[in-house]
């Protein structure tokens, strides 16, 4: 036998893993998503100790570890805090490129929501511009029940 351990034409074997899952949204996010689906309402949750409103809501405050249960209803409109334009398409993207992701601080919230910008000239997006939500016709209790945000009138 040859002592050679390095093969001249090494093999590699192809495979694929599909990962189905079922995720429990939890009490707080269930309420948020149901309000979005059933009544196009955006709910936030307030930490009375830190006086901060979180959107999307969480049960526990990031800053003080307190339990939050004070719900607030927001208008849904907000301000672009930061954005980036995606110039290539992937099949998994929620929109075809070019499109923009943005951090949007909703009016009445103290946090930024990651979402999409639509009905917009991508060259004219500005940090600080006012935007409003456009809701999907077929809502499924998903963050994409807001299809995207567009410039507010």
């Amino acid at each position: 036998m040859s002592q050679e351990t390095k093969p001249k034409a090494p093999l590699s074997i192809e495979g694929a893993i599909i990962l189905p899952y079922r995720y429990a949204a939890g009490g707080v996010m269930s309420r948020f998503l149901i309000a979005l689906r059933d009544s196009k309402k955006t709910l936030g949750i307030r930490c009375s100790r830190c006086n901060m409103v979180y959107v999307p809501p969480r049960e526990t405050c990031l800053h003080c570890f307190g339990r939050m249960d004070e719900w607030v209803e927001l208008e849904g409109s907000g301000t672009v805090e930061s954005y980036t334009v995606v110039r290539y398409s992937l099949p998994v993207h929620p929109m075809a490129a070019p499109f923009a992701f943005a951090l949007i601080k909703l009016d009445g919230a103290d946090t930024s929501l990651t979402h999409l910008l639509g009905e917009i000239d991508l060259e004219k997006i500005k940090v600080g511009m006012k935007v409003e939500p456009v809701y999907s016709e077929s809502r499924k209790a998903s963050i994409l029940d807001i299809s995207y945000f567009r410039p507010a009138n």
Binding site: K6, P7, P10, S12, E14, G15, A16, I17, L19, Y21, Y23, A25, M29, L33, M52, Y54, P56, R58, L62, E81, S82, Y83, T84, V85, V86, R87, Y88, L90, V92, H93, P94, F101, L103, K105, D110, T111, S112, L113, T114, L116, V127, S142, I143, L144
Partner: protein, 390 residues
């Protein structure tokens, strides 16, 4: 603080796009053997073996189980760790815990990745880290987050596109001198500025590659280290800060400064009496997944004043022969086998302190160095290494 812990052995494989002639176990074995050889010990002298690797990047989980003969962990205590980009840093921290606690004297840690085995689907694995309700639907990966870092920095300081390109050219030049680095590119500023836009303002040449490779380090207690080597490198202190997805989802701060980096720097510098890091520490091997990250994060780590970092590379301050070299190895911009990447930062900083970096040894004398890990997402380890015990 526990017992004092030293780095006594370092090994790396060549990092490259594909290691088609060796499987994951064989790759790990190469790094482990080199680290043991560097420490002048055998696997019998090792009390515990720890592995780090990204779940699903090679299509398998619990890789420590199937690689046990290659890592040398057979019938030894061990752990497998994955904390994303910080994995290699988490392993150095965990190795430190194992030794500092007094439970073990000599610990071998191995970080590895064969990114070519993800078949180009790394982002599919990464997106499984994101909150399924609020972030997963957008299917973003690292590029988007780093584009926001770059865009925010450029917007705030109006420095134009050039600084990111200058930093990338510096990294490429250093990588050419590092025998283990993946990308060996001769670049000009124009090459970088002419490269394709991924997500503005991040261009292809700003972004780290996907690499295949492994790194291993032997850690030892003070008593053992002093017997084993004339050149121990001491892990003087480190801080871990978690922020996770809070930045993108909930950050109240519209400028995405990396709060986990700043938090770790504040704590580390305070505990070690560092008030002027560029004067009191000799260099920094930073986890820099994109050229712009090196700039923005030098400020987040409080290394220099806000708005100053973009000038440092142009002035030569951060070059191999500069006053405060940053990423003399060529950094993550040049080499990124993810499960090993953060450990390479610590290994490279230790090599610089030993004076054993070879072609990319910095000009100045290195008695102390910072090394960082980042990833996770938004999770930092920051290490302070020294030549001498305090």
């Amino acid at each position: 603080m526990g017992r004092r812990v030293a780095i006594v052995g370092i090994g790396q494989t060549l990092h490259k796009k594909r290691h088609i002639d060796r499987n994951h176990t064989e790759l790990i074995n190469e790094a482990a053997r080199k680290a043991l050889q560097d420490a002048e010990i055998t696997i019998e002298d090792v009390d515990a073996v720890l592995n780090g690797n990204m779940d699903l990047f090679e299509g398998h989980n619990l890789m420590d189980a199937m690689t046990v003969e290659g890592s040398g962990a057979y019938m030894k205590p061990g752990l497998k760790m994955n904390t994303g980009g910080t994995t290699g840093g988490t392993m150095v921290a965990s190795g430190w815990y194992h030794v500092a606690s007094g439970k073990y004297d000599v610990v071998l840690i191995i970080g590895s990745e064969k990114l070519e085995e993800s078949g180009g689907n790394t982002t599919s694995a990464i997106i499984t880290c994101a909150d399924p309700l609020t972030l997963r639907p957008y299917h973003t990966g690292a590029v988007g987050a780093l584009a926001i870092v770059a865009a925010s920095y450029m917007n705030q300081y109006r420095c134009g596109e050039e600084p990111g390109a200058i930093v990338r050219v510096k990294a490429a030049g250093n990588a050419l001198k590092n025998p283990y680095s993946h990308l060996k590119l001769t670049l000009t500023v124009d090459d970088v500025l002419d490269s394709a836009i991924l997500i503005w303002p991040l261009r292809l040449l700003h972004m780290c590659p996907q690499s295949s490779g492994a790194c291993a380090i032997v850690l030892a207690s003070e008593e053992k280290a002093k017997k084993m080597t004339k050149k121990p490198v001491w892990i003087t202190d480190f801080v871990t800060s978690h922020m996770e997805a809070w930045r993108a989802t909930f950050a109240p701060d519209p400028i995405p400064s990396m709060q986990s980096q700043t938090d770790s720097a504040i704590k580390l510098f305070k505990r070690n009496g560092i008030t002027n890091p560029m004067k009191q520490v000799d260099m920094f091997e930073m986890y820099d997944p994109a050229a712009w990250a090196e700039i923005a994060w030098l400020e987040d780590f409080l290394i220099c004043e806000k708005g100053e970092a973009w000038k440092l590379a142009e002035k030569g301050v951060t070059a191999l022969d500069g006053a405060f070299p940053v990423n003399p190895s060529g950094g993550v911009q040049s080499t990124n086998p993810i499960g090993a990447t953060a450990m390479i930062r610590v290994a490279e900083a230790a090599l610089q302190i030993r004076g054993d970096a070879g072609g990319h040894q910095v000009t100045k004398n290195v008695n102390s160095a910072l090394a960082s890990s980042f990833g996770g997402a938004n999770w930092t380890n920051l290490f302070l290494l020294k030549k001498n015990l305090d």
